[in-house]
């Protein structure tokens, strides 16, 4: 009994004081975080639109437009076989020579289409590498990278209530 009374009493005594002092921690956090957000070169912007890198395009923009899109899947072959954006063709740097002809053929049959490359998520770099190589080899400036890649597609499917393909 003695223990529980003492525990309760000490919680009553110290919790409010500790909470009040936690505000000092919060204040320090706010100031340093705000400074980092302002000065840090790798700071995360609070608006996602500004996070879209050069050469990247958001899925919502593509879906809003009416132009033809030729999807290029820069993920692994296994991932492509399992599931992909409808009509997407696989193209990775490892199997470039084997996979490029199919991409070229599809593009020549619909030259007005925009090439959009995607990989797994924002963290992967293969979509940028594939897009870079396509631009260099095809002399085609209209190669875009899907911002957030496959994750953006899954998110879009979820939001539009279509489930996984």
């Amino acid at each position: 009994m003695g223990l529980s009374v003492r525990t309760t009493a000490s919680i009553q005594t110290f919790l409010p004081m500790a909470l009040a002092r936690s505000f000092l921690l919060l204040l320090l956090t706010l100031v340093s975080g705000a400074l980092a957000a302002w000065l840090h070169p790798r700071a995360v912007p609070f608006s996602e639109a500004t996070l879209v890198g050069p050469g990247e395009v958001r899925l919502s923009e593509l879906m809003a437009g009416s132009g033809a899109i030729l999807w290029i899947d820069a993920r692994s072959r296994e991932a492509w076989e399992e599931s992909r954006i409808p009509g997407a063709l696989p193209l990775s740097e490892d199997a470039w020579e084997d996979q490029l002809p199919a991409v070229m053929e599809a593009w020549f049959s619909r030259p007005e289409s925009v090439l959009v490359v995607y990989c797994d998520s924002r963290a992967c770099a293969s979509s940028h590498q594939v897009a870079e190589r396509l631009r260099a080899e095809l002399g085609e400036p209209e190669v875009l990278v899907l911002h957030n890649g496959w994750e953006a597609w899954l998110e879009w499917l979820k939001r539009s209530g279509r489930g996984q393909p």
Binding site: M17, A18, L25, G33, A34, R42, V44, F46
Partner: protein, 180 residues
């Protein structure tokens, strides 16, 4: 007077020293002092562990907030992007300040409470991700870790919760605990 008794036991003083009238005798005071020393050492070690873990967690995230963003978003808890951005921007600094605050007189208890509540929140998030079957990285230490090792992460969280709980228990002063 459980504190005297506990102090006597922890100090390792011979039982004969405790069997007498130790409430005002020299040996009792010595035993109590020994207990307090042990308690201080334990407290110091617990704080050191908590600080080391929290600094190890905070510094990589402070160095590269964008790498941490993917981990936060993978939990799929925060509905808006700006919320993830706020977590990525401020959470590592909070971890840093509370790790350092453990050593500041007047701030240590607040830091320990903050650490405890933060760990409880992290554990709740981890459990929710586990129940939803997400195959994600913990994001605990801001670097790419293996995904889906929920059992191990949970044990780690519970150990840290126990660590902060013990800090709070040991930080109580005997005199104040009887008042109010």
């Amino acid at each position: 007077m459980s504190f005297v008794r506990r102090g006597g036991r922890d100090s390792g003083v011979a039982p004969s020293a405790l069997s007498g009238d130790h409430s005002n005798g020299y040996s009792g005071r010595e035993a109590r002092a020994g207990g307090w020393r042990l308690r201080r050492i334990a407290l110091w070690m617990l704080k050191l562990v908590a600080m080391a873990v929290f600094l190890y967690a905070a510094l990589p995230k402070i160095a590269d907030p964008r790498a941490f963003l993917a981990d936060v978003e993978a939990y799929r808890v925060l509905p808006a992007f700006w919320m993830s951005a706020a977590v990525v921007t401020f959470l590592p600094w909070f971890e840093l300040w509370l790790a350092l605050g453990l050593w500041v007189r007047g701030l240590s208890r607040a830091s320990a409470w903050s650490g405890l509540l933060l760990m409880l929140a992290f554990t709740g998030l981890l459990l929710s991700a586990w129940f939803r079957g997400l195959d994600i990285a913990c994001g605990c230490f801001g670097q790419s870790e293996a995904t889906g090792k929920y059992g191990w992460w949970l044990i780690r969280d519970l150990l840290l919760i126990a660590n902060f709980g013990l800090i709070l228990l040991l930080e109580r002063k005997p005199g104040t605990s009887r008042k109010s």
